[in-house]
Symmetry: C2
Subunit: 200 residues, 2 copies
């Protein structure tokens, strides 16, 4: 190409997930031609984020403070602790808006084949948090994947002797979906997890 710096800009944009060579090129030209202010803001935001964002010492979520806003929020129900596999999952639950308890963010899920054990994903930090805090219920909201399920069951068995209720988020048909397009595994779960509508 015609410019080393432009090549480097295009290459560096390709590190973003879902951005191929054509999109990276389009982004680079867009930033240079039409949105230099946006480009400046982006570069600054990335630098600032890299420099200052770390993990909350309580819940392990991303934050630039020692303890995140959510953990310091006294209006949240500290008796509930929701365990998720990533900060993105936590954000999705927060955006849904119905959960009012606190969180603990694991660094992914157990995957022995890749050498990822309980220590690597931060299960010890979870256990030590439970020793420090008065938690009444742990809601395991790990992903409904094989690794997520395994992680949830591992944590459940690890904590079974503690005086704490352990629950798993419900599997079933998604709201607004059509039964016809739901996969068999999900349908089986939906039948096994059926709930009575009238009290017996």
């Amino acid at each position: 190409m015609n410019s080393h710096l432009l090549d480097e800009l295009i290459q560096s944009l390709r590190c973003l997930p879902g951005v191929g060579p054509k999109s990276a090129q389009r982004m680079a030209f867009y930033l240079l031609e039409r949105n230099r202010a946006g480009a400046e803001r982006l570069s600054k935001a990335v630098t600032q984020a890299l420099e200052h964002i770390g993990h909350c010492s309580e819940c392990r979520a991303f934050t630039e403070e020692p303890v995140c806003r959510l953990c310091r929020n006294t209006t949240r129900d500290s008796r509930l602790l929701c365990v998720v596999g990533s900060p993105a999952d936590m954000m999705a639950i927060e955006q849904a808006g119905s959960y009012q308890g606190l969180y603990f963010v694991l660094a992914g899920h157990l995957s022995p084949i890749d050498g990822i054990g309980p220590r690597e994903i931060g299960v010890d930090a979870l256990v030590s948090l439970l020793e420090r805090r008065q938690v009444e219920e742990i809601i395991l909201a790990n992903n409904p994947t094989v690794e997520g399920e395994a992680t949830a069951y591992y944590i459940a068995s690890l904590l079974q002797d503690k005086s704490v209720v352990i629950s798993r988020i419900a599997h079933g048909v998604p709201v607004g979906g059509e039964l016809e397009f739901v996969d068999g595994g999900t349908l089986s779960h939906a039948f096994n997890g059926r709930q009575r509508l009238q009290r017996s």
Copy 2:
């Protein structure tokens, strides 16, 4: 959200074309969790590009040097000058690899309704370049859109008294396409622009 800097990172990623709220969130988490080196490189590349990349004083393409590599390349055929509407178009032609002449990059196309006239897109710079250089043929490779066509015809009429051949890239059916899916306007152009296969 839980972190001002994370919010700012997500918002700033949304300035990229084609990036909505969900993608921006995914990109932000990806950069923080999995690719901090890539993030650093991106931030640096954007800053460097903003600081150093300007326009080539000859062809108006993006470059960090006063005159770009392509214009300084003496192996290129300086008798041919291809006029394009954007640096991205120039890059597309370069990537095709068959054109060996030089370029002139206009800043878009004429659009009187938006107040964009010949001055705004740099037609004067093109005229002054032609006065300085020995050009034998100008190939108008403006986009095949209404604005692109209008710009091509404007330039052609402006330069009609000069001793220079003025040509327009061919319109027709794209290579590898199927006739069935080609639009009517393109098909009409393909028929009007038909070429004899045997010499008469």
